[in-house]
Symmetry: C2
Subunit: 330 residues, 2 copies
């Protein structure tokens, strides 16, 4: 295994220390492995907490800051954070108006966030939860009952974060988060498997001429293995899968999201294809991101996320944000 | 070879088409393979043009926009753009106050930018050139006499771009660019080789337990091969090499730059180590970036860039910028 690490057991803790050094505007709680807005809790604002296993950076710690998350919990690589850490994040985010949990739909995350929400409730902190399950590739999967949560998490965090910044209630912030999730679909294709520091070798075997169609962000199996095809065909199967599960036309927020090991030049080739294909289906790319946002360590691969957006979602998407991973308007 | 492409010969053209689709605020000239600010030329502003071989994205096309470049020329992968394309970019960027060429020190780039500058001069466009040669690893290299140009290019483009935006003369914009280059040093370590679409296989062989110390962004040999060591030791040899070639203390702009295939979590581990080591050498990290900015396709590896910054350089670094790859304050 070739990685820039000191010890496989310390990767997450040391990456958080590095994040703290790079971003003095954030606080890191090393004991609970939390990334927290420097000025949290913001009095009177609905707090927003997300988190999950590490290895998907910049998700979630890279999305902490004004306009997005108040705190993020980093579990070990591909491992859910524990309830106590989520509870600590919830306390750190609570400015008296309650806290929204944004949870990707993996069994461990769901259970641990539920437990943390109960414990927070016992302390008098109101908690609502948005479950993100945008990955249309498979219905159930390793570690997931129902659909997996992937790229739409970023859009939920951004849009809910913007509404919370405007002073909206916990109930309204949760509602917009659920709306974004409902209107979003994602689909990923892997060319290689990720290597976790603990395992030291690729998580699955993929022949030199094959791709995993519908892969999960932990390398969970997709719909099928297929021979690697042209970018046009990859884009077509992503667009088809998403618009079948989440039909719609008009304005969309579109992410072409690298899984970690794929160069930007290939993501732009894919985006060009996606753009043409969506145009043929009467979907207008109103906003877009192309890059590594919701990753799977060093996996070569890409995911498409389409969020059918209304005016309110677009307005909130455009609102100022200042985080390590997303920054505009501030 | 597994890549999201349609044809190895069309990658750059199709990636530019994708960039155009994702960024309607930019113009793409497909014939010359240029990325141009939508509102270029900006009347009375010193224009700024950079460019070079593709495969280093987001450099350079991803740094076109207000506060940074007016136009960027994309050569084929790891191949210099031709003089006619650079000339077209220079014309597109010229608002009557002359144009600065920011050129990474590779023989092909140097010759082609020189020829384009002469042709532009014949048309009455004043051109100055900043040659970027920040890579302290080796003195001469494949395709380079002198030191190679790498990560500092981003800082030169940002700082010169900011000064040009304030209305400074071509001479002053060139001077600040040269100052940034003079005060910057970079050093890269590769864990794997990049695979170009044309070659279809890794550009060099690197055993499973070795790293290339001082690698270039096209996979050019560095100082030596070594067994892969801990992140701490990798950071130490980067910091030592840079501060030996470019000694200095006080404020610095520090980039921990992924070469394409290395996950963000590892870059943050490295940044934590770099931060401690620079602190011991009385270098203060005044500003920083951690991520994939000057890449080498899918190469796993990382580079450190340190720019010893004065107040003016920091002020210009902080100035608003709005490009696909860097965006703040707008």
């Amino acid at each position: 295994m070739k990685k820039f690490i000191n010890d496989p057991g310390d990767v997450v803790a040391q990456a958080l220390a590095g994040l703290a050094a790079a971003h003095p505007e954030l606080r890191v709680d090393p004991d609970n492995q939390l990334v927290i807005r420097g000025d949290a809790p913001v009095r009177g604002k609905t707090g927003i907490v997300s988190g999950g296993g590490s290895g998907h950076e910049p998700l979630h710690g890279g999305f902490v800051g004004p306009g997005m998350l108040d705190a993020a919990c980093a579990g070990e690589v591909f491992t859910s954070p524990v309830p106590d850490a989520i509870l600590a994040a919830t306390r750190a985010a609570d400015g008296g108006a309650g806290v929204l949990h944004i949870v990707k739909n993996y069994t461990g995350d769901v259970l641990n966030f539920e437990m943390a929400a109960e414990l927070a409730g016992d302390e008098g902190i109101a908690v609502e939860t948005v479950l993100v399950d945008d990955d249309v590739a498979v219905q159930d999967s390793t570690w997931t009952a129902g659909r997996r949560g992937t790229g739409a998490t970023l859009i939920v965090e951004k849009v809910a974060g913007a509404l919370a910044t405007e002073g909206a209630s916990l109930k309204d912030v949760a509602a917009i988060g659920r709306l974004v999730n409902e209107r979003s679909g994602s689909f990923a294709v892997a060319l290689t498997a990720a290597t976790t520091p603990a395992a030291g070798r690729p998580g699955f075997d993929l022949p030199d001429d094959e791709m995993e169609v519908g892969v999960g962000i932990h390398g969970e199996p997709g719909r099928r293995r297929a021979k690697v095809t042209r970018a046009h065909d990859v884009a077509a199967l992503m667009v088809d899968a998403i618009l079948t599960a989440k039909p719609g036309g008009g304005d969309a927020i579109v992410l072409v999201n690298g899984l970690g090991g794929t160069p930007l030049i290939e993501l732009y080739v894919l985006f060009g294809e996606v753009s043409r294909l969506l145009g043929e289906r009467d979907v207008t790319i109103a906003r877009s991101l192309v890059g590594n946002y919701v990753t799977s360590l060093d996996m070569a691969g890409a995911a498409l996320t389409v969020c059918h957006a209304d005016e309110e979602i677009l307005r909130l998407w455009d609102a100022p944000v200042r985080t390590p991973g997303l920054r505009w308007g501030v």
